[in-house]
Amino acid sequence: MGYPHPIHPRETPVLSQHFGQAAARTYTGWVERGGYQALRKAIGMAPDDIIAEVKASGLRGRGGAGFPTGLKWSFMPKDDGKPHYLCCNADESEPGTFKDREVMRWTPHALIEGCAIAQLAIRADVTYIYIRGEFTEPYHVMQRALAEAYAEGVLGANALGSGKRIDMVIHRGAGAYICGEETAMMNSIEGRRGNPRIKPPFPAVAGLFGQPTTINNVETLAAVPAIINRGAAWYAGLSLSSPKSTGTKLISVCGHVQRPGTYEITLGFPMKDLIYDLCGGMRPGRTLKAVIPGGSSVPIMTPDEVEACPTDYEGIVAHGSMLGSGGMIVMDDSTDLVYQIMRLARFYAHESCAQCTNCREGTAWTTRILERMLAGEGKQSDLDLLLDLSDQMTGKTICVLSDSCAAPVVSGIHKFRADFDACLSRVRPAVMAGV
């Protein structure tokens, strides 16, 4: 549902159908809603059959990268005698994204169930759920649900009476966006600074504590119980864009729309209808100016690009951006793009872990140049300087934080040149001393 709004008739609520129902947060309430049947079923399945089912569903990572989930799980070694780990990425902090927090706040047991099934599939010993420090409410709701799941015998040494052991630990972050990057997250769990690691080795080979590890996003894992319950074909068939983009996606919409919230759509749903129909369109008297469809790290779209764009992995790429995390920032004609891009650059400059030069210096320089332009001290050559700098920040660092800072800058300059020109034309005339 488009929490906090009632379910819109054009939504397809799978993960979100119980959002807003306090009772769904409890073990009893979750079981009454069909909870833990999928886990029971998965316990009776061979791990490879769970992986095969998830592969067949076409489920792709919902955190931003869109990597096929079943395929990722299949990279985990078998019978290697080593401990295996699952990390659940609940470090949601990409500007514009606020969907995972609703999953955790309203359906914590869906996430626990999804983690438990994934843990069986990849033969993991423990799941670490990494929740960002600022998410105080989701953290407490998840803690309570986890304690209940242990007390009810869903987890622990004899999970659901199966004789199988399933363990889960909630690990609280402490304010670092970069810990949403999977290798930084592993360092953070290990009690280290959250610096991303160089890949390879990939986590499935040497991840958390040096052991084979899989990292999945909250929404990805929460979708797994429904796939096990109702089957891969049902899930794949929900989409308007099968076979490449399957199932439903939570899209958190914010900014200048009448009804911001977290909506669940089938992939392939027209982006224009999402903005104008589900979210109620712009405020009265305003028109659409720009959309950042997948969290702040993806290129900015123009209204023309939004016009015929299907909301799915391939469709958004074809229309000039990326689905990313599904955190959609909508801006109307009152927005100064230069100012907003400066604010995003400032975000990345603040969150850079500072280990790569291009990112540490580049995010700070980008911010300073944009601030200078906004202060009326810009030069025409600043645009070329920003583009050159962005080029030096793309594809040259250990992780993609630097690329993420460049994306709105490059797309902003190319697609919203008028805002930059207007900013440069506001150059403050020199004050004449003594006049």
């Binding site: 401990p83 949601e92 902090s93 990409e94 500007p95 514009g96 994204t97 606020f98 927090r101 423990v126 960002r132 420090g133 600022e134 998410f135 105080t136 409410e137 630990v169 690990h171 609280r172 972050g173 402490a174 304010g175 670092a176 966006y177 953070s188 769990i189 290990e190 009690g191 280290r192 600074r193 959250g194 504590f209 958190s252 919409v253 914010c254 900014g255 200048h256 911001p260 919230g261 977290t262 702040s296 955190g327 920032i329 801006m331 927005t335 907003q340 604010r343 995003l344 400032r346 975000f347 603040h350 969150e351 872990c353």
Partner: protein
């Protein structure tokens, strides 16, 4: 260990807090991984993480104080200095910024008596800081007062909200 004749450091890890720390050990394969949760325990108990606390954590977890400090300073949510009785974090990143967050931040600074972002009010009651993205972009402006996550804050709501935190 004490510095220059100040009050002796009262151990943080004793009684309930020690029990909470010890309950963390079995959850991880090594002691170093308990560092982030241990620092949270310190902050809950004392309100901030002092140099003495850093040494105590290091000793408990078989780490060096400089290692602990290196990790501590990476994470923005740990307080390296004492802060006001109520710690206020206001999101001003783009999505909230577009919807009036900067006015909320300004009003919070004025009404709390802090005078400036990052400063503590002279009565020691509040510290207000600006933070990047609190992950509640559809509910501008979200703020955190201590552990209370409050959504849809407008400048008009600020005096009433602050009054709830004596």
């Amino acid at each position: 260990m004490t510095a220059h004749g100040t009050t002796p450091h009262q151990p943080i890890f004793a009684g309930d807090v020690l029990a909470k720390l010890e309950a963390l050990y079995p959850k991880y394969p090594d002691k170093r991984s308990v560092l982030l949760p241990a620092l949270w325990l310190v902050q809950e108990a004392r309100g901030w993480v002092s140099d003495d606390a850093v040494r105590e954590v290091a000793e408990r977890l078989d780490l060096t104080p400089s290692y602990v400090r290196g990790v501590l300073t990476f994470y923005t949510m740990y307080h390296k200095h004492p802060v006001g009785r109520h710690f206020i974090q206001v999101c001003t990143t783009s999505p909230c910024g577009m919807c009036g967050a900067e006015d909320v931040a300004r009003t919070l600074v004025e009404h709390s008596g802090c005078g400036d972002l990052g400063a503590t009010s002279p009565d020691g009651r509040f510290t207000v800081i600006e933070v990047e993205c609190l992950g509640a972009c559809g509910f501008p402006t979200p703020i955190l007062i201590d552990d209370d996550f409050i959504e849809s804050v407008t400048p008009e709501r600020v005096p009433e909200l602050l009054a709830r935190y004596p």
